[in-house]
């Protein structure tokens, strides 16, 4: 029970006090463990592919493998369960990007290949690509002007 009178003006502060908070330490722990594990798996693939390819090709192949695995896990309905506790740990690595493209593609399959899969596939990943490209251009310009 609040010790003061709740009004329309202080309602947001009252709700914020009252609401359960997510545990940042717990979230960070799982993000670290899951994100780290994904990176270790990626590194293992790089080492494996290095037996047959040069290091640049091995890295590209390892990324492709992770994307493939994440797409499979999304299709089997596993990846969202990982993301539910891993948070950024499974969103930030390249596997999260794969999940962000595959999940809307699956979801909107019911509306057909053009208006469904085609139109909605980049629903989640689209803003990431647009902002990523924009910021990379800005950073490149800054580097050109002030950098080496």
């Amino acid at each position: 029970m609040a010790q003061y009178e709740i009004t329309k003006d202080n309602y947001k502060e009252y709700v914020f006090e009252k609401m359960p908070k997510s545990s940042h330490w717990k979230n960070m722990f799982w993000a670290f463990v899951v994100g780290g594990t994904i990176c270790v798996i990626g590194q293992a693939f790089i080492e494996l592919y290095s037996i047959w390819f040069n290091s640049q090709d091995a890295s590209v192949l390892a990324s492709g493998t992770l994307v493939f695995i994440a797409a499979m896990l999304t299709g089997f309905g596993v990846y969202d369960n990982i993301g539910r506790f891993a948070g950024a740990g499974s969103t930030i690595p390249i596997t999260g990007f794969s999940n962000a493209v595959v999940s809307p593609a699956l979801e909107f399959r019911a509306e057909g290949y053009v208006y469904g899969v085609g139109a909605k596939m980049f629903l989640v990943a689209g803003p990431v690509i647009v902002n990523g490209v924009t910021i990379s251009v800005v950073v490149a310009l800054l580097t050109l002007l002030f950098g080496g």
């Binding site: 309602y11 609401m19 997510s22 539910r84 948070g87 999940n99």
Partner: protein, 333 residues
């Protein structure tokens, strides 16, 4: 309360003939397992899209309620109802299989109680049988309001889980062997306390629930203890706590009577955080649980307050706060 005007309706012939429910698998694993008339093993319900599944649930609930009341489709004068999908397609498409007139409603998760009020008013105007229905489906709502189902995201602890289910009630002006009647109703106002967080709908709706409840108590000179239970629709656990605080501030202690359909729908282990949300919550709990308890004489007089958050994804992305509404019916056995 900043504004008050007497506006409670009184009905003298809104008898409840029967209620029928179709519940999703997760709902039937919850606290009310076994209460539902039809529990789905699979939320696709044999259809190839979730939208068609939701539509089929409405068809079953409407037909089920009519059959359970020993009536035929030709007896029903009007079907009234709504769902959460754009253009309220689920119930409208299901109604094309009926001969009755159709009135489509939308007040988000308050739609079920809204349909009971509209139905009771029609009986007052001379109709014989009216069917009121509302429902929601987790998978159709999720993709309309939030993210794709398989997207791996961390859910906020204030979120709720959209319930899958449809409830239908047959109201009639004819006296019933077990008399359960809708006796009074208060039509809610749209109340907006400026909550912006679409995950926290309980907080957005609690002020409107308080507004409607207090209006009803003032209009009818009743107090919370006159009722066996007061059920809100889908405020969730946090929203219910807030409502108790707000109501106490207005001089009404509802802590002994207050329950929430959504918050009570699932077990904690089902990880719905604040509980269920969606038009299905009040439609399922009222038809499956509250009606049967009233039939058995456990409850004599109850209040059902359907709560709805009236935002859309577009208004939220455009930075608007969440307006909310609460409609209330008094049900007497």
């Amino acid at each position: 309360m900043q504004y008050y005007k007497k506006r409670t309706l009184v009905f003298d012939n809104a008898n409840i003939a029967e209620g029928y429910t179709v519940a999703g698998p997760k709902e039937n694993d919850g606290r009310y397992k076994g209460f539902f008339d039809l529990a789905l093993k699979d939320d696709m319900f044999g259809q190839n899209t979730f939208e068609r599944a939701e539509r089929k649930m409405f068809e079953h609930a409407i037909e089920g309620a009519i059959a359970k009341a020993n009536l035929t489709a030709a007896d029903i004068d009007v079907v009234i109802g709504g769902d959460l999908l754009n253009q309220i397609v689920s119930v409208a498409f299901a109604a094309r299989k009926q001969h009755a007139g159709f009135l489509g409603l939308y007040n988000a998760c308050a739609t079920f109680v809204e349909s009971l009020i509209a139905g009771s008013a029609m009986l007052n105007n001379g109709l014989d049988y009216v069917l009121c229905t509302a429902g929601s489906h987790f998978s159709t709502a999720e993709r309309q309001y939030r993210y794709p189902l398989e997207l791996g995201v961390l859910r906020s602890p204030v979120t709720q889980w959209t319930a899958t289910g449809v409830g239908a009630t047959v109201l009639t002006s004819h006296k019933q062997p077990v008399p359960i009647r809708i006796t009074r109703a208060t039509v809610g106002r749209v109340v907006d306390y400026g909550v912006m967080d679409v995950n926290n709908m309980g907080a957005a709706m609690a002020p409107s629930a308080c507004d409607t409840l207090v209006t009803f108590f003032k209009d009818t000179n009743t107090v919370p203890s006159d009722y066996d239970v007061i059920y809100t629709g889908d405020l969730g656990k946090l929203g219910s706590d807030i409502l108790m605080d707000l109501a106490r501030q207005e001089g009404y202690d509802i802590s002994a009577q207050l329950h929430d359909c959504g918050a009570s729908l699932y077990w904690d282990e089902q990880q719905t955080y604040q509980g269920g949300s969606g038009a299905a919550c009040s439609a399922l709990v009222f038809n499956a649980v509250l009606l049967s308890r009233m039939r058995r004489g456990e409850y004599k007089r109850i209040l059902l307050a359907g709560t709805g958050a009236l935002m859309s994804p577009t208004t939220s992305f455009q930075g608007d706060s969440i307006p909310a509404i609460t409609h209330l019916v008094e049900v007497t056995a």
